[in-house]
Each structure stands twice: as C-alpha cells, then as structure tokens.
C-alpha cells in the first residue's frame, strides 16, 4: 500500500466507479439507448447524448495501445517507483484508460501487450485500478 500516492476526488457520477474498485471490480458505464460503453464516468453517453446509463463489470482484460517508461517522477510519491510504466490500455469492452503497468520488466514492455486489471491500495481506503501483464514471460 502506498498511502502517499494521489487519490481521486469523488463526485456523484464517479462514486460507483470508485466504490466498485474498493470491491475489486472494474466498472464501466453502458448506454441503455445505444449500448456504447463509456469510460471515464460521465452523466451522459458521449456517443448519443442519452442520459440513461447503467454500470457493468468489465472483464478487466485489455491490451497496451502505447506506453512510456518514466525515469524522472513528477512528484515525490512516485519517486521510489522509477523506472515505472505509464500506459494507455484499450479494454475488451472498447474504452481506453490510463494506468501503470505493474510487475513488468520495463525492457520487455511493448505495444499490444495483453494485460489484466489489478487493484492497488492507496490512502483513505481507495483502491485504484492498475494493470499487470497477462504473460508470465515479461514479468
């Protein structure tokens, strides 16, 4: 657990997402009108502007679209982690999200790497979605 790392602000729209993460679930919104899956959470569907969305549990599987290996942390709570991997993941359900890829040998990181979600504990009881390689060989 890293209590010092940043935690998100929570509002009415994002609360189910962070509540889900506390329970080890990656939740996404799905539009009840056009079935588009939306992430980050919002009050409307970004495709059809319908305002009726439901929460679904994602499989947690995805792949890396792009990444960087960070050697100079922007703030103190990440300083001990360098070199760390910052990546954009495309989830099986379609949406993209930013996260760190944990438990990977940075020299074996690659675009298209299959990953699955894990949850990292932070302060105030927050658990934050992160990703790990689906393949043993790059850990």
């Amino acid at each position: 657990m890293n209590r010092a790392k940043p935690v998100p602000r929570v509002n009415e729209t994002t609360k189910p997402y962070w509540d889900g993460a506390r329970l080890g679930k990656l939740l996404l919104q799905r539009c009840n009108a056009c079935r588009t899956v939306v992430h980050y959470p919002r009050a409307w569907c970004s495709k059809c502007w319908a305002t009726d969305l439901e929460w679904i549990e994602a499989t947690g599987r995805g792949h890396v679209i792009t990444f960087t290996i960070v050697h100079q942390a922007p703030y103190e709570s990440y300083a001990a982690d360098v070199p760390y991997v910052l990546a954009v993941i495309r989830l099986e359900e379609g949406p993209q999200m930013m996260a760190n890829v944990l438990g990977v040998d940075p020299s074996r990181m690659r675009v298209e790497l299959p990953v699955h979600v894990v949850f990292e504990e932070r302060g105030d009881g927050f658990r934050v979605p992160q990703f790990e390689p689906a393949e043993e060989s790059v850990r």
Binding site: P6, Y40, F67, Q72, P74, V128
Partner: protein
Amino acid sequence: MRNEPAIAAANEIRPGRYPELSSLDLYEKVLVEFLRASRLDPSLVDGFLVSPAGMALGTGSDIFVHEELGDALGIHPIFSETINAGGATFALMAARAAMAISSGRANAVLCAGAGKFPKVGAGGAESMARMVSHPDFEFIYGAFIPALYALAATRHMHERGTTREALAAVAVSTRHWALEHPDAIMRGQGAISIDDVLRSRPIAEPFHLLDCSVPCEGGAAFLVARGDIARTLTRQPAYLLGIGEYHDHGPISQSRDFTSMGAREAGRQAFESAGLRPRDVRVAEIYDAFTINPIMYLEELGIAEPGRGGAFFLEGRGAPGGDLPVNTYGGLLSFGHTGDSSGMSMVIEGALQTMGLAGERQVASANVTLVHTYGGMMAEQATLILGRKP
C-alpha cells in the same frame, strides 16, 4: 480571404527568466516593445485579442486581460476578448481576427500574449501535470507532460517505424536554426549531435532531456489588418491565405489516434481554404514541445509521407540549407518554450519569414509559410497558411 487579412506587424520579446515581472508586467513589456517596433496609430485598431495571464503558474488565471490592457492602451475595440486554447491560442487569434476582418466586423486586430513558466524542479512539474491531465483518471498514475507526449512518440515508433535517432535529428536540426537567432536561449550552447541527444539523461522514454523544449518566459504581439491597411504599414504583409482548426480529445488517454490527434483535419481545412497543396509550402513553423511533434505533424499535414517524417529530419531537409526549412527560429526546443505564450513563437516567425524580416536566418523563397500549433496535450489543432500575395 475577402478583405485580404494580413499580419502587418509582429514582435516577440527575448525569451528568458523574468522573476521580477508578474504576468501582467510581462504583458506590459510585450506591448511596449511592440509599440516601439511598430509605431502603430491607436486609431487604426478596433479589435484586441489576448490570452489569460498566469495560467501556467497554476495559481489562478487572470481572464480579464482584454479589459485591463485595453483600458491601459486607451482603446475601445468593437471586437475583443481574452481567449484560450493552450498553445493553439495564438494561431486561433490570427484565425479569429482574419474571420472578423473578412466578414467586415473589424479592420485591424491587435493580438498579444505573455507567458510565465514555473520552475520544473520546484513543484512546477506537479502543478502543470494537474492542469494538463485528468486529475482523477490520469494524474493519479504519475502522469506529467513529457510522459504524456512520450505516449504519442511510442505509438508513432510502433505504427510508423519512426526511430529514436529520428527524434534526436529533430533536436539537432532545430538547434542549428537557434544558432542563427540572436535571442534563442540555446544559441550560446552551440550545435548538438544525435549522440548528444541520446546521451542526455532519460526523462520518459523515448525522450531524453534534449528531446524536451526549454522552459522559459516571454511573449509577443502581432497585428492582423485588412489588406489595404496592412500595405500602408509594411512593404510586405504576411497574408492569411488559409486557416484550419480541429478540437480532438480532452485527456490524452481518450485520443482515438495517437499518430494524428486531429491535425490532418486542421491541415486539410487550411490548404483547402488557401487553394494550395502541401507541396507549395516553402517554410514550416511547427509547435515542438517535444521532438516527436514536427515528425508527426509533417506527416499529418501532408508534407511528408506517413512514416517518412523521421527520414525528413535525418536527411537534414528541415535544417539550414535544407529544401524545406522547419522551425527557423530555433523552435521551442532551442529558442525556448515561453510557458502559456509558447504558441506565439511560431506565428511570429511564420509572419517574419513571410514578410522578409527574419534577418540572418531569412529563407529567401518564403512565399508560402505553414504554421501549425496545438493546445493541451495535442488536444486541439490550429493551422495557418501565410503568403506574400493576397
């Protein structure tokens, strides 16, 4: 464009650190230097566009700059506001001014910007990271500016075969130009080699220190005027022939295409409105916060084939003596990145080159100049095409 809008005066202050000046003090310096250089008659000016003051400092922005400075200048414009689209702000000022002049709403629009830049080491990286990334879905993962741009570079290398050496070649080419600009921050540092870039310390791979622009402070002002007015102010105005604009993602993790970011569409609009093609361009001034940017935008704007942007720089085509000079003032990489006014530098240089006022670095054939800027984390794109004939 109707009424032949053109940049008729342009002046940028020397980039540097101005710790004794507040954001508004810096604006005053920008304007007094512009007025001294242009000798403008205030009664000509009926439009005034400025950007917020103090944005990059993360201490709250002044968004009433057009009121404060308009009053100080003693003008009562019929077209005026404080506008912001990050680094794209100033090309969009030129575009907004051109549209106002073209539609008969204004005759001469003064555009200005001044930028501070926090010290990266003293909490500046964190405060800027909070501003440019999504605070709840990006910032919490250790995101910061070089890392967010590195995401575009990695994808470009994967998809289009761009090499680490090609990124370095952009820094090398741009430094050569800085050696010819008396105000460029890195002029005194001399030329650099690809090896120098590769050996500088890694920041966020693939970027090393010399792949990153140099934080500093500065600002500039320019006047866009109706063609007949512009011709009374200068021998060779820089006519605004084409403008393009496209607003893509917000947080960069939501970009649908990391190799384009919407620049292709902005470029298409600009060339179409100018009635010109990419091969007509003689000089290109492209926003370059990091070395990947000129490569990706030359490709997206149609000047280099997809996957050939890196080779363009490795072959020296954008450097002094090359067939298509790029970032002739030294770029943000070596002239300096003046915080929230950084998007001014390529507009000013594009205007000076087109007007034939670029001094020792003047490109003789600068009949058609392309200026491409973006704001946010490559979120919004603005393209200008400037020319010597209306």
